[in-house]
Amino acid sequence: MTPLAAGIGRSALVIEIGGIPIRLHTDDPAFRKLLEQRYAGFVSTTSEVRFDFQIELMPPQTISPDEDVRVHWDSGRWSMERGDFRAEWDPAAASGRIRQTANPYSIDSVLRILHTLLLATEGGFLVHAASAVRNGRAFLFAGLSGAGKTTIARLAPADATLLTDEISYVRRLNDDYYAFGTPFTGELARLGENIRAPLGALYLLVQGRENKIEPISPADAARGLLANILFFARDPKLVQSVFHAACAFTDRVPVRQLTFLPDARVWEMIA
């Protein structure tokens, strides 16, 4: 190993979410350690990465935590900004730069945005949904805050493998849809398993007085999915890509409304 390669090996960390390895470079050993802990189970040893990102740590006083996320495309680059980070990504060069303070939340946001942009070009998406694998198939439980994602995840039986209780990762591979585990956690604060499984169904969550699964119209399915897809950029081409990705998904994957009581019997209907 050359001295340069040895140096890269010490400072770089590959985080593979959704089967997409992204290498993060940091000169700060403590921050690297923090990343290893934050993304335990998603750290990869592969040398074949899709993108390289250089992380530049900023002093804490540069934070403006009240700013909203801004994502825009300009001159061949994506820019992503919030009060606590500024990032650029050049897809053609397969590289980018992140400036942030030494905390795990900023990089988490950058990775979420980055993956939504990546997936939009491939027919996939990140969606506000808990997900789990049971009997070899993945099931998504979608809903915004308070819909019951964490509750469903908490009630999952022992034979179900949790992929996430908050942000589900969906990819289209060879015309089939797969759900991947993610490190993006909600109230459970438990990382999903880093596995994938073909999608069995998407359930739109409604809390009610009984457990029941009901069919919904194709338009309601698309509306329900679109309402839960993570969307950061208002770029017209990207919006159109996400819209058509959602419609294509609802063409192939059963979408149902799941009304449920907060008890474990709801899982008797999920298999």
């Binding site: 338009a219 698309a222 509306r223 679109l226 919006v239 159109q240 819209f243 058509h244 063409d251």
Partner: protein, 106 residues
Amino acid sequence: MSGKCYIARSSQTAARLLGEEMVIISAGDPRVFSLNEVATVIWEAADGRTPLDEIIADRVCAEFEVTPQVALKDAEELVQELSSHGILLVSDQPIVRPASPPRETP
């Protein structure tokens, strides 16, 4: 509205017929819009070249049991609503810029 009214689908939108509903999303608005059957006919005919009153006479009144006066009044309200959300362009002159396709085929 007085005089001729021309309408065109905004290129900032994406639309698809799902079941009997035309579902539309706009880059400038986070909401998802749905059109019923009559509104879908108007949306699909919004090529920027055909005046709204001709769309009503030739398409809407030909397919649905409604008088031209009632249909035109309803259509004008619809056009104003869709225009306010940026998903339909409205002009008193033909709109020559390319508009989005009426729907995406699956």
